[in-house]
């Protein structure tokens, strides 16, 4: 329970209870000031909270049971609004299985200056025996606007030195940032400061310890913007161990090492039984030697992705290839190994690719650290295609767009005599061309019967990232689910709820990457016509669907980064009623393009045999557009949004 204004003699308590050698850890007895003296910051504009202090100290120590990291976090948060109260009145602290919370302290100084301290009795615990994580969480009583929340945690961790990112920038301003790393004097660390975060510098060696640190007065709040990702642009630091003078090891966190060990993990760690099981599996799928590499891998991939399941956590007894094949399910890392060995068994030339999700962290070509190696992919050089073994909605040639337009570590086999090993090289993972991901509309409008409620035949062709999910999963839906999906497809295609039937073509995984998914439906609709006396205002532009817009004039702060290259081709044919004159057609012509042609919106029209034919092409064939290019990029995006608003007038002939 809460102990108001009660000051605990924490230092004494800690030394007597935590059972670690207090002399070794600089921060074993760390505590906040007995009398807090926080000053309310000047809150400019509109903030929910201000982080007045963010101190992180990492200390590495050798202990009799192993090598450990002690991670200290000390934060002071000023609560500036109701939303700040909501965001901070619950504190969650999660730790992995081998981690241990040495101490945790929380106190609130409320707006009246009363100090409320929390102790262990206020803390609830939760477990997740699968992930091995446990959670501690508590509600911070008495929090109000104008409060200060002070939190201190010390967590003991193992094995966290091959590349870890710590971010110091958030969506609120942060002040008094301190980052320290302390290690035994024979250990040396390297740092990679991200997005303008100052360099972490070696400070001193004292009492057989090395000290690195950085102090920053303040970091502004990150302003997120549409058409860009926030997380990869936040200020922070990545640290890694590089040298161990005790053992003489240098270049400790390096991709050379990773290439070897990951290669061994994938190919050399298999038991005889595993290898036998893989052979049998390949045979049972019907893969034969006379097939081409492409046929083999596609058959293999389709079979696995339609009959097997990748599961987050499986009991360790099932995390091996033999169990995977028997259970038709296992975790991602076992699937990666299965694909690697199967590719080898099928004698398909391939490389392993390790990379990041660039919407979280961009792969850095210069700084080698293991936290850049999050996703496992395969690259087939003869096909020049990538494969993602664990993503069931992709097939060869398509991987998560977030992994593309990014660098990665490519590991290939190196054979020296009888010994095979892995060797790594950093290469660029090119994004797919815009033509690979199309979302095209072919619309035929018949205004000859009832011009006020015309019949409209919609046909939408989708490929690549637009159709991947539907093409690879539609056949797996139950009848009920198909019915529901069809309803929403009708709504997507016709742009309103309709009880029409929809026809799907090429809705199978085998078609994905080869033939577009085709959706066809015909409805009579009031949605696109407006009436002004006996005139018809036909909202022809709306037939290309709702468009995103950048009408807002606010100054842009971040460059544009999109998910994938894409194309939209539209052909709209309107059979015009005989007894009407049509006007305003000239508004249908657009020609807006970036200078290098990597983004454009173009449209043209003609009338043939009383049929209005409009052709539109909109293409984005680049992922990144710089700040300087933003105005031009915006013009292209807004051209589509403007086209969307174009109407034509039909006036009854006199």
């Amino acid at each position: 329970m809460k102990t108001k204004n009660k000051i605990v003699a924490l230092a004494l308590l800690l030394i007597s209870t935590i059972g670690l050698n207090a002399q070794e850890i600089d921060y074993a007895n760390y505590i906040w000031d007995f009398e807090p003296s926080f000053e309310s910051p000047k809150v400019e504009g509109d903030l929910s909270e201000v982080i007045l202090k963010n101190k992180r100290v990492l200390e590495y120590v050798f202990e009799p049971t192993g090598f450990f990291q002690y991670d200290l976090s000390h934060q002071v948060i000023y609560i500036a609004s109701e939303a700040g109260v909501e965001d901070n009145n619950k504190v969650y602290l999660s730790t992995a299985g081998d981690e241990q919370v040495i101490y945790q302290r929380a106190r609130v100084v409320n707006s009246k200056g009363e100090i409320i301290e929390f102790d262990d009795l206020d803390i609830e615990e939760g477990v997740n025996e699968e992930s091995g994580y446990s959670y501690k969480y508590f509600a911070l009583d008495g929090l109000d606007i104008g409060s200060f929340v002070e939190l201190i945690f010390l967590i003991k961790k193992a094995d966290m030195y091959n590349g870890v990112r710590t971010t110091f920038q958030g969506f609120n301003p942060t002040m008094n940032i301190e980052f320290d790393l302390i290690a035994p004097d024979g250990l040396f660390f390297a740092f990679n400061s991200l997005n303008g975060f100052p360099e972490v510098k070696f400070d001193t060696t004292l009492d057989e310890k090395n000290y690195w640190d950085v102090l920053v007065d303040s970091i502004p709040a990150y302003q997120s913007e549409e058409m860009s990702y926030s997380t990869p642009n936040l200020q922070g630091v990545i640290y890694k161990l590089t040298e161990n003078q005790y053992s003489g090891a240098r270049d400790i966190t390096s991709y050379g090492e990773v290439a070897k060990s990951y290669y061994d993990f994938c190919y050399n760690s298999l038991s005889k039984k595993d290898k036998k099981a893989i052979k049998k599996l390949i045979k049972s799928i019907g893969i034969t030697d006379d097939m081409s590499d492409l046929e083999k891998i596609q058959k293999f991939e389709h079979h696995l992705k339609e009959n097997y399941a990748v599961i987050d956590y499986v009991p360790s007894e099932f995390a091996n290839i033999k169990a995977l094949i028997k259970n038709k399910a296992s975790n991602g890392s076992t699937f990666n190994r299965l694909y690697a060995s199967a590719l080898k068994e099928m004698e398909i030339k391939h490389q392993i690719v390790l990379t990041t999700d660039r919407t979280n962290l961009r792969f850095d070509q210069e700084f080698e650290a293991y936290n850049y190696l999050q996703s496992t992919l395969f690259y087939l050089p003869n096909e020049n295609k990538y494969l993602d073994p664990t993503e069931s909605s992709y097939r060869l040639g398509f991987i998560s767009a977030e992994n593309t337009n990014n660098y990665g570590l490519f590991i290939r086999e190196l054979k020296i005599g009888d010994i095979t090993s892995g060797i790594g090289k950093i290469k660029f993972i090119k994004p797919l061309a815009s033509s690979e991901s199309q979302n095209n509309h072919f619309v035929k409008v018949d205004m000859t019967v009832d011009p006020f409620e015309p019949e409209i035949a919609f046909e939408q062709h989708m490929s690549g990232y637009y159709s991947t999910f539907l093409q690879t999963s539609y056949s797996q839906l139950s009848e009920d689910e198909k019915e529901r999906v069809n309803e929403s497809l009708v709504e997507m295609v016709t742009m309103e709820k309709n009880e029409a039937e929809i026809e799907l073509e090429n809705a199978t995984a085998e078609d994905f990457g080869y033939k577009p998914l085709i959706l066809k439906t015909t409805v009579s609709s009031l949605k696109f016509t407006e009436k002004a006396a006996d005139k018809i205002i036909f909202k022809v532009g709306e037939l290309i669907g709702a468009q995103s817009e950048l009408y807002n004039d606010k100054p842009r702060e971040h460059a544009v980064e999109s998910s994938f290259n894409r194309e939209y081709i539209r052909k709209i044919e309107v059979a015009l009623p005989q007894d009407y004159d049509v006007s305003n057609l000239e508004k249908l012509a657009f020609d807006v393009a970036l200078e290098d042609g990597t983004a454009f919106f173009k449209s043209s029209y003609k009338v043939e045999n009383n049929v209005l034919i409009i052709e539109v092409s909109e293409i984005y064939s680049r992922i990144n557009f710089s700040l300087e290019e933003f105005e031009d990029y915006k013009r292209v995006v807004n051209a589509a949004a403007d086209f969307n608003k174009v109407v034509i007038y039909l006036t009854k002939k006199a």
């Binding site: 809460k2 504009g45 509109d46 609004s81 109701e82 939303a83 909501e86 009145n89 619950k90 609830e124 615990e125 939760g126 477990v127 997740n128 025996e129 699968e130 969480y137 509600a139 009583d141 008495g142 109000d144 339609e306 009959n307 097997y308 399941a309 599961i311 956590y313 499986v314 009991p315 007894e317 099932f318 028997k326 259970n327 038709k328 399910a329 797996q476 139950s478 009848e479 009920d480 309803e487 709504e491 309103e496 709820k497 009880e499 009031l526 949605k527 407006e530 009436k531 002004a532 006396a533 005139k535 205002i537 817009e549 009408y551 006007s583 305003n584 949004a641 608003k645 007038y649 006036t651």
Partner: protein
């Protein structure tokens, strides 16, 4: 005494019997009968045993067995599964395995690895729910998963309902209840009658056995905006009325009186004494106020502003309100804690206040019909003012003092008067006019089809409370962003120039926002004609309800909508066409359009109302006609012609 050897043999014999007696699933039968489905429950069995226990008085145990047949190749996707339990329903006797097809037979593969997990429910900070997670080996097409477990109920009042339907179709639903003599058990049938699902009743050695065996149960239906499935899925709510303990009859939940007695015994444990802090707060709030309602208001609003709602449902805290003094110190509480602080503060200010139980609209039950804790899920507070009982909800931070929340409208509340007396009262359902949206806009056409306008949105009732509650936590920037989209009129070329909000901390007044805006290219110029669509604010453009939908359609509250647009006729123009009036009205909903011309303006008035909380399928046809009528209204443009 039974011979040990004989006993062993008997056990073996019964085991063998059990093995052979268990009818094995015939995959072809299921694949054929349930074509198009992914999974079928071949058996879903619940076995409730209620027996007398010398120590505890009564022992309640629920054993469940669920057998599922997997019909598709991607069956392995379902390999991971779990059993949920909680501190009131303790888990034991877990037996989980896969029956893997081997030719004509099945091979049994047992699950041995179980991982416990604390479950977090959205919106509830901590609720004592846990789950046991596991992995079915070899769960391939044609396999059968079997999960058996037992839950031991620690509080007999908390006996839960039996649902007939499941997410998947069920070949055989079996519910067996064994009741020992001396236990009186009652049932409530919901969305079904005793006649539909009549149990067979057998006499057993110790008492009675009720057996329901229902074949071919369809999967339950669920749609967007349907009310809670409890409104339409058939279920049976059992309740233990009483049991004998020696010569004594112990009442549990025989009738509503028993439920109240139990509830009162829990509330009685709450410390209702005000702390010095709380007294000081109340004193300062009511100081100088003589009118009772003013006092009530000051207390309620103080709690709304200063004590936050955090759901916290662990252990008996799920039933016993936290002491007011604690809630005051912590500045947060769950619904009971908030009721508790209101209760103590009001009683200290000499106001007649009462703990009050209510089931939100998720629960379709009435107190007399379902006198078990299933009937409600929420606590509020009542106060008596001028002989009338008013209801207030501590979890709402914007409701006025005379109004409760939309989500208990039409429901019964149970007001706890004292140890023996309670009062059942129905919450009023507010008419459509109560929650009104009124938008008045004046438009002026500038050059190139650009229009400039000013508007005033005024909303009332539940609509206003919801808006205030949403904006209360938003930052200025968030409010701006929200208003940009909320006030967007005409097209997305709409630009909000500026806006002014009424005081959102004023709970009783309407929510008002005045705004100035412009929309580029909004008026359409075609030669000497100009067309302008005055339906600048469309609602329900896409709310068609499917003709064959079986589940009802639910809204948060009855509401009404009015849009008035006045267009200044530009110089040199005359009105050449005005849309005709449109009317569509019935008892449940309706809409209409009226456009008139005055000397130098056109006035467009559009209205719509929903006079229902739940709309049943028989009205869907008419509803869709209204949607079509609205679409017709939205596509009407006014035509102006150059003089």
């Amino acid at each position: 005494m039974l011979n040990k050897r004989l006993g062993l043999m008997l056990t073996l014999f019964f085991c063998a019997q059990a093995l052979f007696a268990q009818e094995m699933e015939d995959f072809n039968y299921y694949a054929d009968k349930y074509k198009g489905n992914t999974i079928v429950n071949s058996l879903f069995k619940t076995h409730l045993t209620i027996s007398l226990d010398k120590k505890k008085g009564i022992d309640v145990e629920v054993s469940e067995e669920e057998r599922r047949v997997y019909l598709k190749d991607y069956a392995p996707q379902f390999s991971k599964s779990r059993i949920s339990y909680s501190e009131h329903y303790k888990l034991s006797d877990i037996d989980v395995y896969t029956l893997v097809p081997k030719g004509e037979k099945y091979k049994k593969e047992k699950v041995t690895d179980f991982a416990n997990k604390t479950e977090f429910s959205p919106g509830i900070f901590h609720n004592g729910s846990e789950s046991m997670n596991f992995f079915y080996p070899s769960l391939t097409k044609g396999a059968v998963s079997v999960v058996k477990h037992t839950l031991n109920l620690s509080i007999p009042q908390l006996l839960s309902s039996f649902y007939i339907e499941d997410y998947y179709p069920t070949e055989m639903r079996e519910v067996i209840i064994d009741v020992e003599n001396g236990v009186e058990l009652n049932f409530s049938y919901v969305n079904t009658t005793m006649a539909d699902y009549k149990p067979t009743i057998e006499e057993t050695r110790k008492g009675k056995r009720y057996i329901w065996r229902i074949k071919d149960v369809p999967a339950f239906e669920i749609d967007n905006d349907s009310p809670d499935p409890l409104y339409y899925t058939p279920h049976i709510i059992p309740r233990i009325a009483s049991y004998t303990s020696g010569k004594e009859v112990v009442k549990v939940l025989g009738d509503l009186k028993d439920l109240y007695t139990w509830y009162y015994s829990l509330v009685e444990k709450t410390d209702i004494e005000p702390s010095d802090d709380l007294k000081a707060i109340v004193d300062s709030l009511v100081e100088g106020k003589t009118d009772e309602l003013e006092k009530i208001k000051s207390i309620y609003y103080w709690v709304q502003d200063n004590v936050r709602y955090v759901a916290f449902e662990e252990g008996m805290e799920g039933f016993i309100p936290d002491a007011a003094a604690n809630v005051c110190d912590k500045r947060y509480g769950d619904c009971k804690g908030l009721s508790s602080i209101l209760f103590t503060m009001m009683r200290y200010a000499n106001i007649e206040a009462y703990f009050t139980w209510v089931g939100t609209r998720d629960r379709p039950y009435k107190y007399e019909e379902v006198p078990t804790p299933m009937v409600d899920n929420h606590m509020i507070l009542s106060y008596k003012y001028k002989g009338e009982y008013f209801l207030i909800d501590g979890t709402s931070n914007t409701s006025p003092v005379t109004e409760s929340t939309a989500f208990i409208q039409g429901k019964e509340v149970m007001i706890g008067i004292d140890k023996d007396q309670y009062r059942i009262q129905q919450v009023k359902i507010r008419p459509p006019e109560y929650s009104n949206f009124n938008d008045s806009v004046s438009l002026k056409i500038l050059e190139d089809g650009k229009v400039e306008g000013k508007g005033k949105v005024e909303i009332s009732g539940f609509y206003a409370s919801r808006m205030k509650s949403m904006l209360k936590l938003a930052s200025t920037k968030e409010v701006e962003r929200f208003m940009e989209s909320y006030l967007e009129r005409g097209s997305n070329k709409f630009e909000l120039d500026t806006f002014w909000l009424s005081d959102i901390s004023d709970r009783e007044g309407n929510f008002i926002v005045h705004y100035l805006f412009n929309i580029k290219d909004y008026a359409r110029i075609n030669g000497d004609e100009l067309y302008i669509n005055l339906s600048v604010n469309d609602i329900y453009t896409n709310e068609n309800l499917k003709k064959d939908r079986k589940t009802p359609y639910e809204v948060n509250y009855k509401s009404s909508f009015n849009l008035t647009v006045s267009l200044e006729i530009p110089e040199n123009y005359n009105v050449s066409y005005l849309p005709e009036d449109i009317e569509f009205d019935n008892e449940l909903f309706g809409c209409g359009l009226k456009v008139t011309k005055t000397e130098n303006s056109v006035v467009y008035s559009m209205r719509e109302y929903d006079n229902f909380l739940i709309l049943y399928p028989e009205s869907f046809g008419d509803w869709n006609i209204m949607i079509k009528t609205l679409k017709k209204i939205y596509r009407e443009s006014v035509t102006l012609k150059k003089v």
